[in-house]
C-alpha cells in the first residue's frame, strides 16, 4: 500500500500531481492500427505483407457461334468491387478459347491449339487492352476470333479467370 502525499501536491512516486508524463497515455503502433484505418498518399515501410498480394478470381464462360458473322468479339475485364471501384485494377487474364461447348483441352483454339482443332481454321487477333474502350480503371482483355470457313453454326466457348494485384484489400470481379 502506497503512501498518500496528495495533501502536499505529490503523487505516490513523489512527483508533482500536475506532471506531464502521468497525463499522456501512450498508444503503441499496433493498437493504433487496430483502432483506426489510416490512409496516406505515401507509405514508408520496412516490411509489407505480400503473401496475398496477388489473388485469383473466377470469371466465367460465354458461348457464341458464327452464324450471324464470320467473326466474334471476345472481351473480359476486371474491376474492384464497391467501394474501391474507382481505383485502377491491374491484372493478368487466364484465357481459353475452345471450339464447341466446354473446355476440353483437345478443343482448345487459343492460346495453343488442341489436337482436335484443324490448323488454320481459326484466327485469333488482339488479346490486348483496347485504346478505344479502356475506361481508366478496369483491366481488360479484348480479342476477335475469325472462322476462316465463313459463317457457320460452330460454337465457341470463351473462358477467363483473372489474377489481380490486391493493393487495396478488396474483392474484384
Amino acid at each position: 500500500m502506497g503512501a498518500d502525499y496528495s495533501s502536499i501536491g505529490l503523487t505516490k512516486n513523489l512527483k508533482s500531481i500536475n506532471n506531464f508524463s502521468d497525463k499522456v497515455k501512450t498508444v503503441d503502433a499496433y493498437s493504433f492500427g487496430a483502432a483506426y484505418e489510416v490512409q496516406v498518399r505515401k507509405l514508408y515501410a520496412s516490411k509489407a505483407n505480400l503473401g496475398e498480394f496477388v489473388k485469383r478470381v473466377t470469371g466465367g464462360t460465354a458461348l457464341g457461334t458464327f452464324n450471324l458473322s464470320q467473326a466474334l468479339n471476345l472481351t473480359s475485364s476486371i474491376t474492384y468491387k464497391v467501394p474501391h471501384s474507382r481505383i485502377k485494377t491491374f491484372g493478368r487474364p487466364i484465357v481459353g478459347i475452345y471450339q464447341g461447348a466446354g473446355t476440353a483441352s483437345a478443343d482448345q483454339i487459343y492460346p495453343i491449339r488442341g489436337t482436335a482443332v484443324t490448323l488454320g481454321r481459326y484466327d485469333v487477333i488482339g488479346g490486348e487492352l483496347d485504346y478505344s474502350n479502356y475506361n481508366g480503371t478496369a483491366d481488360q482483355w479484348r480479342a476477335m476470333i475469325v472462322d476462316t470457313n465463313g459463317t457457320s453454326s460452330q460454337a465457341i466457348t470463351f473462358v477467363t479467370d483473372w489474377l489481380y494485384t490486391d493493393y487495396v484489400t478488396g474483392d474484384a470481379t
Binding site: 460465354a62 457464341g64 452464324n67 458473322s69 467473326a71 466474334l72 470463351f158
Partner: protein, 61 residues
C-alpha cells in the same frame, strides 16, 4: 453497363460486364440495359429474348 443485344432471327448476346462474346461487325436490332438484373434472369433472356422478363429491362436501342 451490361447490355442484352438482340440480333436478327431472335438471337441474343450479353455485351459488357466481366465477360462477353458477341458477333463482330453486326448491328443488333434491339438493345436492352440489363445491368441491374439478376444473373439467372439475364441468362433466360439470352436464351429467349422474347421472355416476359424483357419488360424488366430498359430498352436503349
Amino acid at each position: 453497363m451490361k447490355v442484352l443485344k438482340v440480333y436478327k432471327d431472335g438471337q441474343a448476346y450479353v455485351d459488357g460486364g466481366s465477360l462477353s462474346i458477341v458477333p463482330s461487325g453486326v448491328d443488333p436490332v434491339a438493345e436492352y440495359d440489363v445491368t441491374d438484373m439478376d444473373k439467372d434472369d439475364i441468362e433466360k433472356l439470352r436464351k429467349n429474348p422474347r421472355d416476359k422478363l424483357i419488360k424488366k429491362a430498359r430498352k436503349i436501342g
